[in-house]
């Protein structure tokens, strides 16, 4: 019998488990696959404040950014506080970017056109300028998730955090109106609270509990280059179009290059967005557009080889906000999913706030915008 059962061993589930264990709760984490086998294992590792419109998600991002810096002290995974550089093709876009940065009220530095090369010496010429966000960072999400689970198990008392991998949740156990555990492929697991941290599959887990959560997959491809001998790209670099694409509701294909180096020497090139279900078929036109946009930012990449590509499915909610908190429709059920492309960045704050809710504390941020039943109300 655990205090909390977390369904999902991705980075969000790992953070929920870690903060719950730190708060003194006994936690069991269940995943049908391995650690970080879903969307966590197919992302870029973005920890961004720069791409968030002012509002509740930005508040999450700012607090989460601070928490990531604390967690990085645990060691065991790469965390690079490299900063993000958003570049503008035209003077008009540069002005809009600068205005957005002021409204966001996060640490930033406006950069004029000629000064861009001080940040990125290999950047193509002709950009009107941009904004540098020093808080933007990069994390290796798979190792981060695994480390949080291990530290959660090691640091707060023996047996506090149990990991059940290769175990599929098949249903919920109720006692009266309350959730008291889950049925699994490997028997029943009892717990006073169940946290749905199943990411893109969060809607399916919610359905097992009889509640609706409109989470849809939004596919993204990433191109990975051969390792470079000399680092070519210092920061996370992307064009202003990325910000508008993130906030877009379109089901059609959108691409906006996000380019960055990794400690392994490879360059990662994202990001495409399209809603095509769980289709893994590689789209050469998407890869071609990503390559074109990356080369437009860094012409030196033209001769660099892409050696692999992978795709993942962001958990997309209609209003682009995650679902965090207790489900008023079913006592004992909590959600921590639907973070779309920001799950890596927002994992710590999600775990932190949920641990506060689970232990009866007042959460540091208002969870009202993230309430699980908001979609049903909108529909009626």
């Amino acid at each position: 019998m655990s205090d909390v059962i977390v369904v999902g061993a991705g980075v969000v589930g790992a953070a929920c488990a870690y903060y719950a264990a730190r708060a003194g709760l006994d936690v069991t984490v269940i995943d049908r696959g391995p650690v970080a086998g879903g969307t966590t294992g197919s992302g870029e590792g973005n920890v961004l404040v720069s791409d968030k419109e002012p509002g509740p998600e930005l508040e999450l991002a700012v607090l989460s950014n601070r928490l990531w810096r604390e967690l990085a002290g645990l060691g065991g995974f790469e965390f690079e506080p490299k900063g993000g550089l958003v570049v503008a093709e035209t003077e008009e876009v540069r002005r809009q970017l600068t205005e957005l940065a002021v409204k966001q009220d996060v640490e930033h530095t406006p950069v004029d056109g000629p000064a861009l090369r001080d940040y990125e010496p290999h950047l193509a010429g002709g950009f009107a300028g941009g904004v540098f966000y020093p808080q933007d960072a990069q994390v290796q999400p798979m190792l981060a998730a695994a480390t949080l689970l291990r530290r959660g198990a090691d640091s707060f008392g023996h047996g506090t955090l149990r990991l059940r991998l290769g175990v599929r949740v098949t249903g919920f156990i109720r006692s009266g109106e309350r959730v008291t555990g889950v049925r699994t492929s490997h028997g029943d697991v009892l717990g006073d609270a169940v946290v749905n941290a199943a990411g893109t599959w969060g809607g399916e887990v919610a359905a097992l509990a009889g509640v609706e959560l409109p989470i849809l997959p939004r596919r993204g491809f990433i191109l990975v280059t051969e390792p470079l001998r000399e680092p070519l790209i210092r920061h996370k670099v992307y064009t202003a179009a990325y910000v508008t694409n993130v906030a877009s509701d379109s089901a059609g294909l959108e691409t906006s290059a996000v380019v960055e180096g990794t400690p392994a020497g490879t360059v990662l090139i994202g990001a495409s967005r399209e809603r095509v279900g769980f289709d893994r078929t590689t789209s050469v036109p998407v890869l071609a557009r990503l390559a074109e946009q990356a080369v437009a930012l860094f012409p030196a990449l033209r001769e660099v080889r892409a050696i692999r590509s992978y795709c993942g499915f962001r958990p997309y909610c209609p209003d682009h906000l995650p679902v965090i908190g207790a489900d008023p429709r079913l006592p004992g059920l909590y959600h921590a999913c639907g973070h779309e492309g920001a799950g890596i960045g927002l994992a710590p704050v999600t775990g932190h706030l949920l641990a506060q809710v689970l232990t009866g504390q007042r959460p540091d941020l208002d969870l009202h915008p993230f309430r699980p039943d908001r979609f049903a109300k909108e529909a009626s």
Partner: protein
């Protein structure tokens, strides 16, 4: 980028015995055919040959087929296929790269049908020191020889499992290398006991054995190289006597400068998995493309022949290529019959003639018998030390793999995500089998949407309007 406005009736990927036989059969039936291969000459791994080829079993026949094909089809050498995609109109696009002094160029071929004849590559196993210069795969050593390279004067140890060690060692000895021995990790008797040995391989094997005897090369079973030693390159190896499961019974150190190892083959099926072809487990558990009696895959318009459909050697590969070529030609005719029924795609594929089918069954049984006689036994994992590199591209030692498993990586993909084996240049072609074994699962289907490295410039050129040109046109610019 160039784009041939022609839509081929058939594009064949792979210029080995399966691909050439399939392409030739279809071309003789009147189909418009292109064959694409990475090499500078047709041949694949088995029939790789120098500009002035030396006689080898089956080679004269293969070269004759190659000449006949060149007269009837577009043979595009020096072209690497990195992706095959289904287009919205139902056709296929074969994405190739060709390297010129001026740079890399993207070439797109349009095809109504595809024959996957991409062969297989060597399957090495890791051991301490296998990352030293001087350690080669048996196939790699042979490729050097066949391509015209020389290894004369070197002291070579050949180790691994399977009958392929014999031609590799015989070739090295004939080229003037001092082959200290062929060390077969399995018992080696399984094959000789098999009645199918009488099928014809016996003569070939006898030839290799004679070569080895002439050069006084010992062939010893239940032995293997379990470590290579040296400062900057191989100076010596540890040779071990093994039990049935390949656990070490005793060992000694032998001075040498070259080690050629091979533990069977990995079929190259990634073009099939890109298209969603159903796979099945081969005798040794490796995924291969599932085909029907006519070599047709589960994906309409896509056939597979040779090792990608199951490891069985060059004779089986050629036969499967011919069967596929006939079925493809029948499919083409059905498409062009004026009175065709709309449902011909769902109809039964043209079955191969009985004489082909019977021979294919015999060779398949032979291939399966070989795989059963020369399995990889789990004892090799005991040869590794904590610091032995499992993945050479990303320099991942065994200890990091074990750590990833302790952290919740319960399958090979999760081990890759946490510890990086298979993320490098070769995309797990070298280490994938070993990592699967270490993760305790059979090898999984490869996910390689970018099957060959492609420059971002060539990739970006695919977004531009397509410029008509023939793929053979030597004068066109690189990516424009």
């Amino acid at each position: 980028m160039t784009h041939d406005r022609v839509t081929y009736d058939l594009v064949v990927v792979g210029g080995g015995p399966a691909g050439v036989a399939g392409a030739l059969t279809a071309a003789l039936a009147g189909l418009r055919v292109a064959l694409v291969d990475t090499g500078t000459r047709l041949g694949g791994q088995y029939f790789r040959h120098a500009a002035e080829p030396k006689p080898a079993p089956g080679l004269a026949r293969f070269l004759r087929q190659g000449r006949a094909l060149a007269a009837r089809a577009d043979v595009l050498l020096g072209h690497q296929v990195w992706n095959v995609s289904r287009e919205p109109d139902g056709g296929l696009t074969v994405h190739c790269l060709t390297r010129r002094p001026a740079g890399e160029r993207a070439v797109e071929l349009r095809a109504r049908r595809l024959l996957i004849a991409t062969g297989a590559h060597d399957r090495p196993l890791p051991f301490p020191g296998w990352d030293l210069p001087g350690v080669l795969t048996a196939g790699g050593a042979q490729a050097l020889l066949k391509g015209g390279g020389v290894l004369a004067g070197r002291r070579v140890v050949v180790s691994g499992t399977g009958p392929f060690l014999l031609p590799a060692a015989a070739g090295l000895a004939a080229a003037g290398a001092r082959v200290l021995g062929v060390y077969e990790a399995n018992g080696g008797l399984g094959l000789a006991r098999h009645p199918l040995l009488a099928l014809g391989k016996a003569g070939e094997a006898a030839g290799y054995t004679a070569t080895l005897a002439r050069h006084r090369v010992p062939y010893l079973t239940r032995r293997a190289v379990i470590a290579a030693h040296g400062e900057r390159e191989v100076e010596a190896v540890t040779l071990a006597r093994l039990d049935r499961d390949w656990n070490v019974l005793s060992s000694r150190v032998v001075a040498c400068d070259t080690v050629a190892v091979g533990y069977g083959f990995v079929p190259q099926i990634e073009l099939g998995t890109q298209l969603g072809c159903r796979t099945r487990a081969d005798v040794d558990g490796s995924p291969v493309i599932d085909v029907d009696a006519a070599q047709r895959t589960s994906v309409p318009g896509v056939w597979a022949a040779g090792e990608p459909a199951g490891v069985g050697g060059w004779r089986l590969a050629e036969l499967e290529g011919r069967i596929a070529g006939r079925a493809i030609a029948a499919d083409h005719r059905a498409d062009h019959r004026a009175d065709q029924r709309a449902d011909h795609h769902t109809g039964h594929p043209a079955d191969p003639p009985p004489v082909f089918a019977r021979r294919r069954e015999r060779w398949r049984a032979f291939g399966a018998a070989l795989q059963r006689a020369y399995p990889v036994k789990p004892g090799w994992q005991g040869w590794l030390r904590d610091d032995t590199l499992v993945c050479r591209c990303e320099e991942v030692p065994l200890a990091r793999v074990r750590e990833a498993q302790a952290m919740g990586a319960t399958d090979a993909r999760a081990v890759k995500l946490l510890a990086r084996p298979g993320m490098g240049w070769c995309q797990g072609r070298i280490c994938g089998y070993a990592v699967s074994c270490l993760a305790g699962e059979p090898p999984q289907e490869p996910r390689r949407p970018v099957a060959q490295p492609v420059t971002l410039g060539a990739l970006a050129s695919l977004t531009h309007p397509q410029t008509p040109a023939t793929p053979q046109d030597p004068g066109d610019d690189p990516a424009h």
